[in-house]
C-alpha cells in the first residue's frame, strides 16, 4: 500500500516537472535548422533565426524539443538560452523563492552577529564581513563519505562509467 502511494506520488511529481518545463521560454542563439528528430542528419522542419523565441517542451541530452513559429522540432541545447525574466520561473516543480520574509533576521546572543534564517542572500558584503566558522567546517568533515560508499551508491543507481577524453577549446567562430 505504502509502495503504491509512493509510486503515485512519484508519478504526480514527474508530471509536475514536465508541465513546469513546458513553460520555459527560450531564445535561439545562432541561426540554423529546426530538425524533425534529435539527430544531426535528421530532416529539416524549418529555419531558425538568431534570437528567435521558442518554447522548450522537453530536454533530451544534447537536444531540446521546441515549438518555434508554430512548428515543433528539435534543436541543440547548446543553441539555446532562456529568455531573460524572473529567475525562479523556470524552475521545475513550481513556484520558487517568494516565500519567507527577506528581512527576517536573527541576532545571536553570543556574538551579536546577524545570522541567517534561511532566506538570506550571500553578497560581496557578506563575504567581506564573514568570520570563519570552524564549527561548521568540522561538521562539513563529518558529512564526507568513503569512496566505497560513493561507488556502491553509483552501482545501485546503475550508473555506467564511460571513457571520455578531455576536450580542447575547439575552433573560434570569428
Amino acid at each position: 500500500m505504502r509502495r503504491i502511494v509512493a509510486i503515485l506520488l512519484a508519478a504526480i511529481l514527474l508530471c509536475r516537472v514536465t508541465s513546469a518545463e513546458a513553460a520555459e521560454k527560450g531564445l535561439v542563439l545562432r541561426a540554423g535548422d529546426l530538425l524533425a528528430q534529435p539527430f544531426i542528419d535528421a530532416a529539416r522542419s524549418g529555419p531558425l533565426t538568431a534570437n528567435q523565441p521558442v518554447t522548450i517542451l522537453q530536454r533530451r541530452g544534447a537536444w531540446a524539443n521546441v515549438e518555434a513559429g508554430g512548428k515543433t522540432g528539435w534543436v541543440r541545447v547548446l543553441n539555446l538560452r532562456l529568455e531573460p525574466g524572473p529567475a525562479g520561473a523556470a524552475r521545475p516543480g513550481g513556484a520558487r523563492p517568494s516565500g519567507g520574509n527577506p528581512m527576517s533576521l536573527l541576532q545571536t546572543g553570543s556574538s551579536g552577529r546577524t545570522v541567517t534564517t534561511g532566506v538570506k542572500g550571500m553578497n560581496e558584503e557578506d563575504i567581506q564581513n564573514a568570520t570563519p566558522d570552524y564549527a561548521e567546517l568540522e561538521l562539513l568533515g563529518t558529512l564526507a563519505v568513503s569512496a566505497d560508499d560513493a561507488r556502491a551508491t553509483a552501482t545501485k543507481a546503475n550508473l555506467k562509467e564511460n571513457t571520455v577524453d578531455y576536450l580542447d577549446k575547439g575552433r573560434s567562430r570569428k
Partner: protein, 304 residues
C-alpha cells in the same frame, strides 16, 4: 626529513609570496633559498609544487569563510546525497584521492564555491534550481575541476604577495604564533577577495570544459551543465544571481565556448542518465526546516 620539509615549505613560501626584497630584509638567510627556487623553476611552476597537505589546510580556512556567511543546510539526507554524488564524480577526475568534502549551504542566492584540497560548497538556491541530477553533477564537476586544476592558488597568489613571508612555514608547520597567524589572516583576506571577484575568466571556461567530461565519465549527461547555464542566462539582473554573475563570464558566452568545444563530440556517449528517481524524490521531499520558519537551534553552538 623535517629539515627537508621546512626547506620545501620555505621554497613554496617564496614562490607563493614572490617578495624577494622584503623577504631578505625580514629573513636575511632566506635569500639563497629564493635564488635557488628561482633558478630551478619559474614562479608559476613552483606554485604547482604546493603539496596536498598545504592545499587542504588552506582549503579548510577558506571553506570556513564561506561557511561563516552561510552555514550548512540542516538536512542530512541532502548533504549525504551531494557527498556521494560529488565523490563519485571526483573519482573520475585526475585527483581522485583528495579528501573530497561537499556541502549545501543555507542561502537563497544561486552560487557554488570550491577551495583548494577538495572542498565544494553549493548554495541551497542553486540546489533548488536543479532540473535533474545531471545538472547537479554538472555544477559539482565544474567545481571539482577548479580544485583539480588548482585555479584558486593562481587567484590567491596576487593578493598574498603583500603578506608576511615567513608565516607560511609556521602556518603549514602548525607552529601557530605571530607569523602563522599573520599568514592565516592574509590568506583569509585573499580568499574573501577571490570569492568576491571570482577566478580568472579563462579558468571558468576551462572548468566548464573539464566538468562536462567528468560528468560523462561518471555516467551523467554532459549536457546537465548546459541546462544550468541556461537557467543562469534567464536571470541577468536577478539579485539572487548577483555575485554569481559578477564572478563568472556571461552564461551565453559560456554556452558558446562549450558549444565550440563539445560540438557533437560527446553525442556518442550514450551510456548516461539525465536524472535519477532518487534525486526526484530528494528534491521534492518537504524541507526539514521550511524557509521563513524560525530555525532550529544550531548544533554545537552556545546560546548566550
Amino acid at each position: 626529513m623535517t629539515a627537508l620539509r621546512t626547506l620545501r615549505s620555505a621554497l613554496i613560501a617564496c614562490a607563493l609570496l614572490a617578495l624577494p626584497g622584503a623577504a631578505q630584509a625580514q629573513f636575511p638567510n632566506i635569500g639563497g633559498l629564493i635564488k635557488g627556487a628561482q633558478n630551478v623553476k619559474k614562479l608559476g611552476d613552483s606554485l604547482r609544487k604546493i603539496g596536498e597537505p598545504e592545499e587542504i589546510q588552506m582549503g579548510g580556512d577558506l571553506a570556513s569563510v564561506i561557511l561563516g556567511t552561510a552555514p550548512l543546510v540542516q538536512d542530512a539526507a541532502k548533504q549525504r546525497y551531494v557527498n556521494r554524488l560529488g565523490l563519485w564524480l571526483a573519482l573520475h577526475s585526475d585527483r581522485p584521492n583528495l579528501p573530497w568534502k561537499f556541502g549545501i549551504v543555507e542561502t537563497e542566492d544561486v552560487n557554488a564555491f570550491s577551495m583548494p584540497g577538495g572542498y565544494v560548497l553549493i548554495t541551497r538556491g542553486m540546489f533548488d534550481r536543479m532540473r535533474t541530477e545531471s545538472e547537479l553533477a554538472g555544477v559539482l564537476a565544474h567545481e571539482i575541476s577548479h580544485v583539480v586544476r588548482k585555479d584558486h592558488i593562481n587567484a590567491l597568489q596576487g593578493s598574498l604577495r603583500d603578506s608576511a613571508l615567513g608565516g607560511f612555514t609556521d602556518y603549514i608547520g602548525g607552529a601557530g604564533g605571530g607569523l602563522a597567524g599573520q599568514f592565516k589572516t592574509a590568506l583569509i583576506n585573499a580568499g574573501k577577495t577571490m570569492y568576491m571577484r571570482g577566478l580568472d575568466k579563462d579558468d571558468e571556461y576551462d572548468a566548464d570544459r573539464m566538468g562536462v567530461v567528468i560528468a560523462a565519465r561518471a555516467g551523467y549527461s554532459p549536457y546537465g551543465l548546459v541546462g544550468v547555464l541556461q537557467t543562469l542566462s534567464a536571470a541577468p539582473d536577478d539579485k539572487g544571481f548577483a555575485l554569481m554573475n559578477k564572478t563568472h563570464p556571461l552564461p551565453v558566452d559560456r554556452i558558446d565556448r562549450l558549444d565550440r568545444a563539445m560540438g557533437t563530440k560527446l553525442d556518442g556517449v550514450t551510456n548516461v542518465v539525465e536524472d535519477l528517481p532518487s534525486f526526484v524524490a530528494l528534491r521534492e521531499a518537504p524541507r526539514a526546516a521550511p524557509a521563513g520558519a524560525k530555525p532550529a537551534p544550531r548544533r554545537g553552538r552556545r546560546k548566550n
